[in-house]
Symmetry: C2
Subunit: 210 residues, 2 copies
Protein backbone atom coordinates (compact mmCIF):
# COMPACT_ATOMS: atom_id res chain seq x y z
CA UNK A 1 0.00 0.00 0.00
CA UNK A 2 1.27 3.46 -0.73
CA UNK A 3 2.81 5.02 2.34
CA UNK A 4 1.40 8.31 1.17
CA UNK A 5 -2.28 8.26 0.30
CA UNK A 6 -3.08 9.15 -3.27
CA UNK A 7 -5.38 11.89 -2.14
CA UNK A 8 -2.47 13.91 -0.75
CA UNK A 9 -0.73 14.00 -4.10
CA UNK A 10 -4.02 14.73 -5.80
CA UNK A 11 -4.74 17.63 -3.47
CA UNK A 12 -1.38 19.09 -4.37
CA UNK A 13 -1.84 18.57 -8.09
CA UNK A 14 -5.38 19.93 -8.15
CA UNK A 15 -4.35 22.91 -6.05
CA UNK A 16 -1.70 23.69 -8.64
CA UNK A 17 -4.24 23.43 -11.41
CA UNK A 18 -6.65 25.74 -9.67
CA UNK A 19 -3.90 28.26 -9.00
CA UNK A 20 -2.54 28.29 -12.54
CA UNK A 21 -6.00 28.35 -14.04
CA UNK A 22 -5.94 24.96 -15.73
CA UNK A 23 -9.05 24.45 -13.66
CA UNK A 24 -10.76 27.70 -14.55
CA UNK A 25 -12.60 29.86 -12.05
CA UNK A 26 -16.29 29.21 -12.20
CA UNK A 27 -15.92 25.92 -14.04
CA UNK A 28 -17.35 22.63 -12.87
CA UNK A 29 -14.98 19.77 -12.14
CA UNK A 30 -15.75 16.68 -14.16
CA UNK A 31 -14.70 13.79 -11.97
CA UNK A 32 -14.50 11.18 -14.72
CA UNK A 33 -12.40 13.31 -17.05
CA UNK A 34 -10.09 14.53 -14.33
CA UNK A 35 -9.65 11.05 -12.90
CA UNK A 36 -8.77 9.67 -16.32
CA UNK A 37 -6.39 12.55 -16.93
CA UNK A 38 -4.65 12.01 -13.61
CA UNK A 39 -4.57 8.26 -14.03
CA UNK A 40 -6.50 7.43 -10.87
CA UNK A 41 -9.96 6.26 -10.05
CA UNK A 42 -12.75 8.50 -8.92
CA UNK A 43 -12.55 7.39 -5.30
CA UNK A 44 -9.27 9.03 -4.24
CA UNK A 45 -10.01 11.90 -6.57
CA UNK A 46 -13.28 12.61 -4.80
CA UNK A 47 -11.48 12.35 -1.47
CA UNK A 48 -9.10 15.05 -2.63
CA UNK A 49 -11.93 17.22 -3.93
CA UNK A 50 -13.70 16.98 -0.60
CA UNK A 51 -10.55 17.99 1.20
CA UNK A 52 -10.17 20.97 -1.08
CA UNK A 53 -13.78 21.95 -0.60
CA UNK A 54 -13.24 21.89 3.17
CA UNK A 55 -10.42 24.38 2.68
CA UNK A 56 -12.51 26.59 0.45
CA UNK A 57 -10.47 26.12 -2.70
CA UNK A 58 -13.43 24.35 -4.27
CA UNK A 59 -17.09 24.49 -3.46
CA UNK A 60 -19.41 21.55 -3.37
CA UNK A 61 -22.74 21.91 -5.15
CA UNK A 62 -24.90 19.03 -3.92
CA UNK A 63 -26.02 16.96 -6.84
CA UNK A 64 -23.79 18.86 -9.19
CA UNK A 65 -20.36 17.98 -7.90
CA UNK A 66 -17.57 20.43 -7.30
CA UNK A 67 -16.72 23.69 -8.95
CA UNK A 68 -13.93 26.22 -8.80
CA UNK A 69 -15.25 29.32 -7.08
CA UNK A 70 -15.34 32.38 -9.32
CA UNK A 71 -12.94 35.19 -8.62
CA UNK A 72 -14.39 37.74 -6.28
CA UNK A 73 -12.56 40.98 -5.49
CA UNK A 74 -14.38 41.08 -2.16
CA UNK A 75 -12.93 37.72 -1.28
CA UNK A 76 -9.39 38.95 -1.90
CA UNK A 77 -10.10 42.00 0.24
CA UNK A 78 -11.07 39.68 3.07
CA UNK A 79 -8.37 37.05 2.62
CA UNK A 80 -5.35 39.33 2.74
CA UNK A 81 -6.15 40.91 6.12
CA UNK A 82 -7.11 37.49 7.41
CA UNK A 83 -3.76 35.96 6.54
CA UNK A 84 -2.07 39.08 7.85
CA UNK A 85 -3.74 38.78 11.24
CA UNK A 86 -3.15 35.05 11.43
CA UNK A 87 0.55 35.44 10.71
CA UNK A 88 0.82 38.27 13.20
CA UNK A 89 -0.85 36.06 15.78
CA UNK A 90 1.57 33.25 15.04
CA UNK A 91 4.41 35.68 15.49
CA UNK A 92 3.05 36.95 18.80
CA UNK A 93 2.78 33.40 20.08
CA UNK A 94 6.32 32.46 19.21
CA UNK A 95 8.52 32.66 22.27
CA UNK A 96 11.29 35.28 22.16
CA UNK A 97 13.78 32.51 22.78
CA UNK A 98 12.73 30.64 19.68
CA UNK A 99 12.62 33.89 17.78
CA UNK A 100 16.21 34.73 18.58
CA UNK A 101 17.78 32.69 15.83
CA UNK A 102 15.42 33.83 13.14
CA UNK A 103 16.40 37.35 12.01
CA UNK A 104 19.70 36.30 10.44
CA UNK A 105 18.11 33.42 8.61
CA UNK A 106 15.25 35.65 7.49
CA UNK A 107 17.66 38.23 6.13
CA UNK A 108 19.48 35.50 4.25
CA UNK A 109 16.26 34.61 2.50
CA UNK A 110 15.60 38.31 1.91
CA UNK A 111 19.00 38.47 0.20
CA UNK A 112 17.89 35.64 -2.03
CA UNK A 113 14.79 37.61 -2.87
CA UNK A 114 16.85 40.62 -3.80
CA UNK A 115 19.06 38.49 -6.03
CA UNK A 116 16.03 36.87 -7.65
CA UNK A 117 14.63 40.34 -8.26
CA UNK A 118 17.86 41.42 -9.97
CA UNK A 119 17.76 38.35 -12.16
CA UNK A 120 14.14 39.00 -12.96
CA UNK A 121 13.13 35.66 -11.47
CA UNK A 122 9.82 34.88 -9.88
CA UNK A 123 9.85 35.99 -6.26
CA UNK A 124 6.81 34.18 -4.96
CA UNK A 125 8.60 30.93 -4.14
CA UNK A 126 11.28 32.74 -2.12
CA UNK A 127 8.69 34.95 -0.48
CA UNK A 128 6.82 31.85 0.55
CA UNK A 129 9.98 30.41 2.10
CA UNK A 130 10.53 33.63 4.03
CA UNK A 131 7.07 33.54 5.55
CA UNK A 132 7.30 29.81 6.27
CA UNK A 133 10.55 30.45 8.12
CA UNK A 134 9.01 33.31 10.06
CA UNK A 135 6.26 31.01 11.33
CA UNK A 136 8.38 27.92 11.71
CA UNK A 137 8.84 28.41 15.45
CA UNK A 138 5.21 29.01 16.31
CA UNK A 139 4.15 26.37 18.83
CA UNK A 140 0.46 26.36 17.91
CA UNK A 141 -0.09 23.67 15.29
CA UNK A 142 -3.75 24.49 14.89
CA UNK A 143 -3.04 28.09 14.03
CA UNK A 144 -0.43 26.94 11.54
CA UNK A 145 -2.97 24.56 10.04
CA UNK A 146 -5.44 27.41 9.56
CA UNK A 147 -2.75 29.54 7.92
CA UNK A 148 -1.75 26.69 5.66
CA UNK A 149 -5.34 26.20 4.62
CA UNK A 150 -5.96 29.85 3.94
CA UNK A 151 -2.86 30.83 2.01
CA UNK A 152 -3.65 28.79 -1.12
CA UNK A 153 -6.94 30.66 -1.41
CA UNK A 154 -5.02 33.88 -1.38
CA UNK A 155 -2.51 32.69 -3.92
CA UNK A 156 -5.25 32.56 -6.51
CA UNK A 157 -5.29 36.33 -6.38
CA UNK A 158 -1.57 36.74 -6.05
CA UNK A 159 -0.57 36.04 -9.63
CA UNK A 160 0.36 39.60 -10.34
CA UNK A 161 1.53 40.41 -6.82
CA UNK A 162 5.19 40.75 -7.69
CA UNK A 163 4.49 42.07 -11.13
CA UNK A 164 5.91 45.46 -10.41
CA UNK A 165 9.59 45.61 -9.53
CA UNK A 166 8.92 48.71 -7.47
CA UNK A 167 6.51 46.91 -5.21
CA UNK A 168 8.87 43.92 -5.04
CA UNK A 169 11.70 46.10 -3.81
CA UNK A 170 9.43 47.76 -1.31
CA UNK A 171 8.26 44.37 -0.09
CA UNK A 172 11.81 43.13 0.38
CA UNK A 173 12.49 46.23 2.43
CA UNK A 174 9.50 45.46 4.61
CA UNK A 175 10.76 41.95 5.14
CA UNK A 176 14.10 43.35 6.28
CA UNK A 177 12.36 45.77 8.65
CA UNK A 178 10.46 42.88 10.20
CA UNK A 179 13.69 40.99 10.81
CA UNK A 180 15.26 44.13 12.27
CA UNK A 181 12.34 44.66 14.62
CA UNK A 182 12.63 41.07 15.78
CA UNK A 183 16.32 41.58 16.43
CA UNK A 184 15.39 44.52 18.63
CA UNK A 185 12.83 42.40 20.40
CA UNK A 186 10.15 44.80 19.24
CA UNK A 187 7.38 42.35 18.48
CA UNK A 188 4.59 44.93 18.07
CA UNK A 189 6.60 46.73 15.41
CA UNK A 190 7.32 43.47 13.65
CA UNK A 191 3.64 42.50 13.59
CA UNK A 192 2.65 45.94 12.43
CA UNK A 193 5.00 45.84 9.46
CA UNK A 194 3.96 42.29 8.73
CA UNK A 195 0.31 43.24 8.60
CA UNK A 196 1.14 46.28 6.48
CA UNK A 197 3.10 44.08 4.11
CA UNK A 198 0.06 41.96 3.44
CA UNK A 199 -2.32 44.86 3.20
CA UNK A 200 -0.09 46.69 0.76
CA UNK A 201 0.10 43.56 -1.35
CA UNK A 202 -3.65 43.68 -1.52
CA UNK A 203 -3.59 47.33 -2.53
CA UNK A 204 -1.25 46.60 -5.44
CA UNK A 205 -3.36 43.63 -6.38
CA UNK A 206 -6.40 45.85 -6.58
CA UNK A 207 -4.55 48.13 -8.98
CA UNK A 208 -3.77 45.31 -11.36
CA UNK A 209 -7.22 43.87 -11.22
CA UNK A 210 -8.89 46.74 -12.95
Amino acid sequence: MARTPLRSDLIEEITTRVLDGRLAAGARVNEVHLARELGVSRTPLREALIGLADRGLLVSAPGRGFLVPPFDPDEARRLYPLVAELEALALRWTSPLELAGLPDALDAVADEMAMALDRGDDLSEVDERWHALLLSRCPNPHLLRLIGQTKPLLKRYESCYFGGAARAGESIGEHRRIAAALRDGDLPAASAVLVRNWVKALAYLGKDER
Copy 2:
Protein backbone atom coordinates in the same frame (compact mmCIF):
# COMPACT_ATOMS: atom_id res chain seq x y z
CA MET B 1 -30.38 11.65 -5.16
CA ALA B 2 -30.28 13.04 -1.67
CA ARG B 3 -30.24 16.83 -1.73
CA THR B 4 -27.88 16.69 1.18
CA PRO B 5 -24.85 14.42 0.74
CA LEU B 6 -24.60 11.60 3.23
CA ARG B 7 -21.18 12.76 4.28
CA SER B 8 -22.60 15.93 5.81
CA ASP B 9 -24.87 13.98 8.12
CA LEU B 10 -22.06 11.58 8.86
CA ILE B 11 -19.69 14.40 9.76
CA GLU B 12 -22.27 15.68 12.20
CA GLU B 13 -22.92 12.27 13.71
CA ILE B 14 -19.27 11.34 14.02
CA THR B 15 -18.46 14.74 15.51
CA THR B 16 -21.08 14.07 18.16
CA ARG B 17 -19.61 10.68 18.88
CA VAL B 18 -16.12 12.08 19.24
CA LEU B 19 -17.35 14.83 21.53
CA ASP B 20 -19.37 12.57 23.79
CA GLY B 21 -16.64 9.96 23.88
CA ARG B 22 -18.47 7.16 22.08
CA LEU B 23 -15.45 7.33 19.82
CA ALA B 24 -12.83 7.30 22.53
CA ALA B 25 -9.74 9.47 22.48
CA GLY B 26 -6.79 7.54 21.17
CA ALA B 27 -8.92 4.82 19.62
CA ARG B 28 -8.77 3.79 15.99
CA VAL B 29 -11.84 4.11 13.83
CA ASN B 30 -12.90 0.86 12.25
CA GLU B 31 -14.49 1.79 8.97
CA VAL B 32 -16.38 -1.45 8.43
CA HIS B 33 -17.88 -1.56 11.89
CA LEU B 34 -18.79 2.11 11.94
CA ALA B 35 -20.28 1.96 8.46
CA ARG B 36 -22.42 -1.02 9.43
CA GLU B 37 -23.48 0.69 12.63
CA LEU B 38 -24.46 3.87 10.78
CA GLY B 39 -26.16 1.95 7.99
CA VAL B 40 -24.09 3.38 5.16
CA SER B 41 -21.33 2.12 2.95
CA ARG B 42 -17.68 2.81 3.51
CA THR B 43 -17.45 5.35 0.70
CA PRO B 44 -19.42 8.26 2.19
CA LEU B 45 -18.13 7.28 5.61
CA ARG B 46 -14.55 7.65 4.45
CA GLU B 47 -15.43 10.97 2.86
CA ALA B 48 -16.71 12.16 6.21
CA LEU B 49 -13.64 10.87 8.02
CA ILE B 50 -11.38 12.71 5.61
CA GLY B 51 -13.33 15.91 6.16
CA LEU B 52 -12.98 15.52 9.89
CA ALA B 53 -9.27 14.82 9.59
CA ASP B 54 -8.89 18.05 7.62
CA ARG B 55 -10.47 19.90 10.51
CA GLY B 56 -8.25 18.18 13.05
CA LEU B 57 -10.99 16.29 14.86
CA LEU B 58 -9.47 13.05 13.60
CA VAL B 59 -5.99 12.25 12.43
CA SER B 60 -5.13 10.11 9.47
CA ALA B 61 -2.46 7.48 9.94
CA PRO B 62 -1.47 6.33 6.45
CA GLY B 63 -2.00 2.64 6.13
CA ARG B 64 -3.75 2.48 9.47
CA GLY B 65 -6.85 4.53 8.86
CA PHE B 66 -8.14 7.22 11.14
CA LEU B 67 -7.93 7.62 14.86
CA VAL B 68 -9.31 9.98 17.46
CA PRO B 69 -6.46 12.15 18.71
CA PRO B 70 -5.64 11.62 22.37
CA PHE B 71 -6.42 14.37 24.81
CA ASP B 72 -3.57 16.75 25.26
CA PRO B 73 -3.65 19.52 27.87
CA ASP B 74 -1.24 21.50 25.74
CA GLU B 75 -3.69 21.38 22.87
CA ALA B 76 -6.45 22.85 25.02
CA ARG B 77 -4.09 25.59 26.15
CA ARG B 78 -3.52 26.49 22.52
CA LEU B 79 -7.08 26.11 21.27
CA TYR B 80 -8.79 28.41 23.74
CA PRO B 81 -6.67 31.49 23.00
CA LEU B 82 -6.93 30.69 19.31
CA VAL B 83 -10.71 30.69 19.31
CA ALA B 84 -10.63 33.76 21.52
CA GLU B 85 -8.49 35.70 19.06
CA LEU B 86 -10.48 34.50 16.07
CA GLU B 87 -13.75 35.59 17.64
CA ALA B 88 -12.29 38.91 18.64
CA LEU B 89 -11.11 39.38 15.08
CA ALA B 90 -14.56 38.57 13.75
CA LEU B 91 -15.98 41.12 16.12
CA ARG B 92 -13.50 43.79 15.05
CA TRP B 93 -14.40 43.21 11.42
CA THR B 94 -18.11 43.53 11.95
CA SER B 95 -19.28 46.98 10.96
CA PRO B 96 -20.69 49.14 13.77
CA LEU B 97 -23.88 49.48 11.78
CA GLU B 98 -24.42 45.74 11.71
CA LEU B 99 -23.44 45.54 15.34
CA ALA B 100 -26.09 48.02 16.40
CA GLY B 101 -28.94 45.56 16.60
CA LEU B 102 -27.00 42.90 18.45
CA PRO B 103 -26.70 43.91 22.11
CA ASP B 104 -30.41 43.53 22.89
CA ALA B 105 -30.59 40.18 21.19
CA LEU B 106 -27.43 39.07 22.94
CA ASP B 107 -28.83 40.04 26.30
CA ALA B 108 -31.98 38.12 25.54
CA VAL B 109 -29.89 34.99 25.04
CA ALA B 110 -27.94 35.82 28.17
CA ASP B 111 -31.28 35.90 30.01
CA GLU B 112 -31.96 32.45 28.70
CA MET B 113 -28.61 31.35 30.03
CA ALA B 114 -29.43 32.72 33.44
CA MET B 115 -32.75 30.89 33.42
CA ALA B 116 -31.11 27.68 32.32
CA LEU B 117 -28.60 28.09 35.12
CA ASP B 118 -31.41 28.48 37.65
CA ARG B 119 -33.08 25.36 36.35
CA GLY B 120 -29.80 23.51 36.49
CA ASP B 121 -29.91 22.89 32.75
CA ASP B 122 -26.93 22.51 30.50
CA LEU B 123 -25.68 25.90 29.43
CA SER B 124 -23.43 24.95 26.55
CA GLU B 125 -26.15 24.95 23.91
CA VAL B 126 -27.32 28.45 24.88
CA ASP B 127 -23.74 29.66 25.18
CA GLU B 128 -23.11 28.41 21.68
CA ARG B 129 -26.14 30.34 20.42
CA TRP B 130 -24.87 33.49 22.09
CA HIS B 131 -21.51 33.27 20.38
CA ALA B 132 -23.06 32.36 17.05
CA LEU B 133 -25.24 35.43 17.32
CA LEU B 134 -22.26 37.60 18.20
CA LEU B 135 -20.47 36.52 15.04
CA SER B 136 -23.51 36.38 12.81
CA ARG B 137 -22.87 39.81 11.30
CA CYS B 138 -19.22 39.28 10.48
CA PRO B 139 -18.76 39.75 6.74
CA ASN B 140 -15.71 37.50 6.38
CA PRO B 141 -16.93 34.02 5.50
CA HIS B 142 -13.45 32.56 5.54
CA LEU B 143 -12.82 33.68 9.08
CA LEU B 144 -16.17 32.25 10.09
CA ARG B 145 -15.23 28.99 8.41
CA LEU B 146 -12.02 28.80 10.40
CA ILE B 147 -13.89 29.48 13.62
CA GLY B 148 -16.47 26.85 12.78
CA GLN B 149 -13.73 24.33 12.11
CA THR B 150 -11.86 25.09 15.29
CA LYS B 151 -14.64 25.21 17.84
CA PRO B 152 -15.50 21.51 17.72
CA LEU B 153 -11.90 20.71 18.64
CA LEU B 154 -12.27 22.90 21.66
CA LYS B 155 -15.56 21.37 22.66
CA ARG B 156 -13.80 18.11 23.34
CA TYR B 157 -12.18 19.80 26.29
CA GLU B 158 -15.23 21.75 27.32
CA SER B 159 -17.20 18.98 28.95
CA CYS B 160 -16.73 20.31 32.44
CA TYR B 161 -16.64 23.99 31.45
CA PHE B 162 -19.96 24.90 32.98
CA GLY B 163 -19.60 22.40 35.76
CA GLY B 164 -19.33 25.00 38.45
CA ALA B 165 -22.32 27.28 38.93
CA ALA B 166 -19.97 29.99 40.15
CA ARG B 167 -18.05 30.05 36.90
CA ALA B 168 -21.30 29.87 34.95
CA GLY B 169 -22.64 32.94 36.70
CA GLU B 170 -19.39 34.76 36.14
CA SER B 171 -19.45 33.82 32.47
CA ILE B 172 -22.98 35.12 32.04
CA GLY B 173 -21.86 38.37 33.59
CA GLU B 174 -19.02 38.59 31.10
CA HIS B 175 -21.45 38.03 28.27
CA ARG B 176 -23.55 40.90 29.55
CA ARG B 177 -20.49 43.14 29.82
CA ILE B 178 -19.63 42.40 26.21
CA ALA B 179 -23.12 43.39 25.09
CA ALA B 180 -22.88 46.54 27.20
CA ALA B 181 -19.54 47.48 25.68
CA LEU B 182 -21.00 47.00 22.22
CA ARG B 183 -23.91 49.25 23.12
CA ASP B 184 -21.38 51.90 24.09
CA GLY B 185 -19.56 51.40 20.83
CA ASP B 186 -16.48 50.38 22.79
CA LEU B 187 -15.22 47.61 20.58
CA PRO B 188 -11.79 47.24 22.23
CA ALA B 189 -13.43 46.67 25.59
CA ALA B 190 -15.80 44.14 24.08
CA SER B 191 -12.96 42.19 22.49
CA ALA B 192 -10.96 42.30 25.68
CA VAL B 193 -13.77 40.83 27.74
CA LEU B 194 -14.45 38.29 25.03
CA VAL B 195 -10.86 37.11 25.04
CA ARG B 196 -10.85 37.03 28.82
CA ASN B 197 -14.04 34.99 28.78
CA TRP B 198 -12.36 32.29 26.73
CA VAL B 199 -9.13 32.38 28.65
CA LYS B 200 -10.92 32.10 31.97
CA ALA B 201 -12.83 29.12 30.65
CA LEU B 202 -9.50 27.51 29.95
CA ALA B 203 -8.32 28.29 33.46
CA TYR B 204 -11.33 26.58 35.00
CA LEU B 205 -10.90 23.68 32.64
CA GLY B 206 -7.34 23.26 33.81
CA LYS B 207 -8.55 23.07 37.38
CA ASP B 208 -10.90 20.19 36.63
CA GLU B 209 -8.41 18.33 34.53
CA ARG B 210 -6.05 17.53 37.33
